[in-house]
Subunit: 390 residues, 2 copies
């Protein structure tokens, strides 16, 4: 058996960052920017007022000082002239600070009488001027790779970048295999169950930036599997679920090998999800996941999601683990790395009492996979333990 | 001035849960399920093998016992007959456990010789049988409202639910106002800047389940604002950004009032984002946000996101706050609830040294809004403090 890290190293060797495409900024949220974005201007492009008030020369400011108001500066409409020492310009937030002035006295600190203003007795020290380039300057960079969030999108807009270069979305084909499966909405026979893994995995992988397709269920025949692989043509990653164990029914591996896959089987020292199959088939990477619903979803999180991130140019690395405090003591752990379905509430984590890998209801009630390393020593309540958020 | 909670109470009074629609399961991830889903079957629908091995009667199991193999049960293809005490059936994971058997001896514990098997000397206690209905039973419910995640989607599939009832996505119109703005990609005049708020807000609101549209920038004229509001027709929520302060340029409120909005102005005891305008205009709720980029995004998080959640039927509640430990001491806080741009790393939070509400670069570098309550006492490094994740 190999470790989770060794299995991941094999899987990363099957994929590479995909090519890139340009998307309009409005469609870039959640995408992975693949080339640095470079600011095309200073922000603000001019010294700008931070408040509504009156722009004056700072060395003329003192309690009770009087100024003549000679004009107005609003956002988008600056004051064109030069302002003298005893003069002021009515100014609004975001407007350029006029030549000859370097301070904004807020309107609350001013008494206005016709064209003249008198400053109050108590003035604060703040100039209320945002310097030109205070947010960013021409040439400042937002560095790639970066998963673009809402604030990034706003910042890119502000830099005057209407379109960004991002990694193409990995195209993923999902193939459930097995005579026991029917699609949701169909009527199962007495020995059959409903296909669920492809639905859960599609939601998971689409959510991290892939474009997953659920293919028709492949039956346990050569012809049906060949037809399914054929439909997967054009994908970057082909995922089969079920049929990859070492049992007598390992048709998936045989057919994939026939179709040219250089395959490898991995027994991974983990729970759930021991058996994996992986290889390359033509232009695509292929991975075979176990058919147990929870195993498939855990392997999706532990193995497939990092492959997707690698294809998106985010590096070939295990998903970063977080830590939380244990709710209660745990006995000695087992010989395999255990991904336990757990509830995390306010920094305290408790594994569910039911860890059978067939229980989707337990997985749906969990919000974290708590990880016990191989041969983990007994743990005490309050100990820090690692987890993956779900 | 009113508190953030008082402002939210006003805003919640403007919205209600939207009507519902049915979507196929493949498109339901991230949507808000609005009616309980009820399992249409037991899972597993029969007692099923948890391993590859041999199904036998448990009371015939002892070290060295011999059985005659009379058939095979695979997933999707059960064994039809009855199994006697000295008989066994070859069984694979997921197959129905045949009548007359209640235990699976794993293949590693069996020596097979033609049609007969002999059990090993050391056997574990596990029956390796998953009871019928062990995951869920007919009539078991997934309760609404619920934001559907990948494991929920898998569980719904398994329950044989091909489509789910969800809230319609709130339609949001985003209107930037101001003569100082141009769209990204356009060439700004000397006193102009690039519109960024609508782009950041669209990404934020789409990300929590809305369907936001960026309308053309409204200029500081009646005609331009009327045209923008006209384009917003059919929206559930109209958001204007800028032009809502109490200054001389409050055209937005005047035009909205002309168009029938019962408006209210709120000065909220918070930083950034003091001024808000809100009301109802025809079929839509309307909210006017401050034009400063960081203020607009913070108000999006603190006010608009909870309105969206209320429209999605998730309740009229403030976003739940999380807690982290302060990285360093903080002096006495101010008279307004302060949403500070901060970095959270491994449970420790540190506010950025630059908190000016114009700095998008600081917001894009932050991953949390750290919250200091009104008149917050000085804090020590290591104290717990509340935050909103970004």
């Amino acid at each position: 058996m190999i470790s989770v890290d060794e299995a991941l190293a094999h899987l990363f060797s099957l994929v590479a960052p995909l090519d890139t495409e340009e998307v309009p900024l409005q469609q870039a949220s959640g995408r992975v920017m693949s080339a640095d974005a470079v600011a095309r201007r200073d922000q603000p492009p001019f010294a700008a007022s931070a408040m509504d008030g009156y722009a004056v020369a700072s060395d003329a400011v003192r309690p009770g000082a009087r100024f003549t108001v000679i004009g107005e500066a609003a956002a988008g409409h600056g004051f064109g002239g030069e302002v003298g020492k005893d003069q002021a310009v009515r100014i609004f937030t975001g407007a350029p600070v006029p030549a000859g002035t370097d301070r904004v006295v807020i309107q609350e600190d001013v008494i206005r009488d016709g064209d003249s203003i008198t400053l109050a007795d108590a003035l604060d020290d703040n100039a209320y001027v945002r310097p030109a380039g205070g947010d960013f300057r021409v040439g400042d960079r937002m560095e790639a790779p970066r998963i673009l969030g809402p604030a990034d999108i706003a910042l890119l807009a502000s830099m005057n970048i209407p379109a960004v270069t991002v990694r193409r979305k990995p195209r993923v084909a999902l193939i459930s295999t097995g005579d026991e499966l029917v699609m949701p909405g169909d009527k199962p026979g007495p020995d059959q169950i409903i296909a669920s893994n492809t639905f859960g995995l599609k939601a998971m992988l689409d959510g991290i930036g892939a474009e997953a397709r659920i293919l028709p269920i492949a039956r346990d025949t050569r012809a049906s599997l060949i037809a399914a692989f054929d439909l997967a043509t054009g994908s970057d990653l082909v995922i089969t679920i079920g049929g990859a164990s070492v049992g007598d029914h390992d048709l998936v591996g045989d057919v994939a090998a026939e179709l040219g896959m250089e395959r490898a089987f991995y027994k991974v020292r983990m729970r759930p999800g021991k058996p994996l199959m992986a290889g390359r088939m033509g232009e695509a990477a292929m991975i075979g996941l176990p058919g147990n619903p929870v195993s498939a979803m855990v392997c999706g999180k532990v193995f497939v999601a990092p492959m997707i991130r690698a294809m998106l140019g985010l590096g070939a690395e295990r998903a970063p683990l977080l830590t939380a405090r244990l709710a209660h003591d745990l006995p000695q752990g087992g010989p395999r790395e255990h991904y336990m379905r757990a509830r995390l509430d306010d920094g305290v984590i408790a594994p569910d009492t039911r860890q059978d890998s067939s229980l989707l209801s337990v997985l749906a009630g969990a919000n974290a996979l708590m990880i016990r390393p191989v041969d983990d020593a007994p743990r005490k309540a309050g100990d820090l333990i690692e987890y993956l958020p779900l």
